[in-house]
Symmetry: C2
Subunit: 147 residues, 2 copies
């Protein structure tokens, strides 16, 4: 990749996401990268089933993409705990998991030392699929407590 390191990482991540044809599950502590936000909205417009889980304390921070994603009609669920929903993974078409230390923020992509794993072995993908479905149900708005 001939680009600067951060741009190169972003470009590789975008390419992987944009291979989604049927479904995209995203489970992210912090999501503020405008480019990644646009890519996710594009997939949603293309008819890919997008579901997002995020952290309640971080989703409202300045620069968060979560509001824009909801505005675009994408379903987002969040935790209701004092602990963090600290995962950072995405599942593409149920066949590929992208995970590691990276939150989807410009700061992390450009300035941090991070790792991103891309795995297609079912042995590694399945636990992430199972965890996503477990969290998705656990964070169902029907379970939210408001007082």
């Amino acid at each position: 990749c001939p680009l600067p390191h951060g741009d190169c990482s972003l470009s590789r991540l975008l390419s992987l996401l944009l291979t989604a044809r049927r479904s995209l599950e995203i489970c992210l502590f912090a999501f503020s990268s405008p480019q990644l936000g646009s890519a996710v909205r594009l997939l949603h417009r293309r008819g890919v089933r997008v579901r997002i889980v995020t952290d309640a304390q971080y989703m409202g921070l300045q620069g968060s993409q979560i509001g824009l994603l909801r505005l675009a009609g994408i379903q987002v669920r969040h935790d209701q705990e004092s602990g963090y929903m600290h995962h950072k993974f995405a599942i593409v078409d149920g066949r590929m998991v992208i995970t590691g230390s990276l939150n989807w923020t410009t700061q992390a992509i450009q300035n941090n030392r991070e790792n991103v794993l891309v795995m297609e072995d079912a042995e590694y993908v399945k636990p992430f699929v199972d965890e996503f479905e477990r969290i998705w149900e656990e964070y169902n708005p029907i379970n939210y407590r408001f007082f």
Copy 2:
């Protein structure tokens, strides 16, 4: 595991670390778990070669284990950048990588939603070994700038 979830995760992580016989490389954004700190010091006393890389902004925070690890004679290096050294991985005897979203803090182990991957395939282990050695040299104190 019959223990509560957090204790169970901690116990599994401790068991994996304590299999180290020759070397342990740790690359962690935040390290404040007293139990994991004790385990690392025990391995050092047993003659395992322990090397630690951490984040400059986080290593001095209250509760950090980094000072105690240095006091025990373990080598620790840190970044000198405004960006975070955000990795969270350990390499046991050059054969097993433990990585994921988990920082080694009691808060994360007890209260957060996290993932930890344990991999022994060379295909996955080697990039982490290479990254550790690259960072270890890059953060060599000889390269530190003090003004």
